[in-house]
């Protein structure tokens, strides 16, 4: 039964790849991609897309981690509830709206896009950092304090490693949302692969549309795998075994 299911699964996968290949040929995607005047443009847009994602994710990770850590310190802990409520509300704002609002304040171009994407990606990272550190059992921290660790040492050697799994989940969510939203940043003039998608929709040019949509999808899937890999490196072995 199980063997049969595995076989059907593989067969279906092959069939899907076959159909996708035929579709790619029929819609002219292959021709479009091999056009010597077109593929440098696609690569340029891809690099632009990666650039937007990389810069905004760097900002978001630094700020999000920082905010999460500060909010779990003793002095600021009582503000954590209210801050998380605001973050929760912020997350209901659609990504397109965040980009559009950034445009109406900062104008068009790369700057508002990076700003909006950073702000939007901070939310999941900060929330998960906070949740992760809060979930570290108090007994661990007490034990660390009893061993004479300074607060900074407790943070880096007890709290962060124990919270790392949750933090990386937040990072993964932020990264995937970021890649998808960066596609929309074309609308406020920042370029990226969204250029191909929106132009393709407007002109009903399927090959152009797919040349944008497929790399973005692959990028998101690769980013998902990358986050897994990061978890493998950053989460300490003992925790990985227990979890």
């Amino acid at each position: 039964m199980n063997k049969l299911m595995g076989k059907t699964y593989r067969l279906m996968l092959m069939l899907i790849i076959l159909i996708a290949g035929v579709m790619a040929e029929r819609t002219g995607l292959v021709e479009y991609l091999s056009d010597p005047y077109e593929y440098p443009v696609i690569i340029e847009l891809l690099v632009q897309h990666l650039y937007i994602v990389a810069i905004s994710m760097t900002f978001a990770t630094i700020i999000g981690l920082g905010a999460g850590i500060i909010l779990t310190r003793k002095r600021f802990r009582r503000y954590a509830g209210i801050c998380m409520y605001i973050v929760g509300l912020g997350q209901t704002i659609p990504s397109l709206a965040v980009l559009a609002i950034a445009m109406s304040f900062l104008g068009i171009g790369l700057k508002p896009a990076i700003f909006a994407l950073s702000i939007y990606s901070i939310l999941p990272i900060a929330r998960n950092t906070l949740a992760g550190i809060t979930a570290v059992p108090t007994s661990f921290i007490d034990a660390a304090r009893g061993m004479g660790m300074t607060p900074l040492k407790i943070l880096f050697e007890v709290e962060l490693p124990n919270a790392m799994k949750v933090i990386i989940t937040g990072f993964r969510i932020a990264l995937i949302i970021n890649i998808g939203t960066a596609a929309l940043s074309y609308l406020i003039g920042a370029g990226g692969l969204g250029d191909l998608i929106f132009t393709g929709i407007s002109l009903m040019q399927t090959e152009k549309l797919l040349a944008g949509a497929i790399p973005i999808t692959l990028m998101a899937l690769i980013a998902d795998g990358l986050a897994d890999f990061m978890g493998y490196i950053l989460i300490s072995k003992g925790l990985r075994l227990s979890g």
Binding site: A97, A100, S104, G180
Partner: protein, 222 residues
Amino acid sequence: MSTIQFIIDNYAQVLFLSWEHIWIVGLALMIATVIGVPLGIFITGHKNLASRVLNGANILMTIPSIALFGIMLPILALVNLGLGKVPAVIALVLYSQLPIIRNTYTAIKNVPGPLVDAARGMGMNRWELLKEVQIPLATPIIIAGLRTAAVMNIGIAAIAVYIGSGGLGVYIQQGIDRVYPEMIMSGAILVSLLAIIVDGFMAMLERLATPEGIKLQRNILR
């Protein structure tokens, strides 16, 4: 202030677009529930299938929304449905699958074993067990999944305006094109407001769907 003025001036259109937005999201959510909940229940009995279905739904969720619209467009264009409300609803249904299936699956899995054993001992068959014990206990968690899906879908439906679905995204789209900040702001505010209201409504539904016994138990434990 001028944003509020804009909304007041165009209240008829605002109402119409909000209704359109709610309609798209609501329809998608209904279809997604009809597909997702039975699927979630079905895979609780098949462990191998469960991991595959959940993985598949996870991959679907990873695909950025605008890319999904883009990939679906040429496929649906074969049956002349490339643009408009239909592809938008299909995309929203696909995106809702992960939260709904995952929550149904975990909820049914997490029904305590002794309860299931007791029900079986009382002579219930599989269907009765599902109807009388597992589904009532799982309903709050299933509704929590619907809540996640609904809030997410309201945001994605705003993007779907670029494939001609209508809804409140129209204000954002046209506001960007005309560089009309009041229009953008009113679109953004209305969509967010809609998401917050739906979130609150679903939270209420979640509380209502919790069986009395569980509420009592929680109160005692507290």
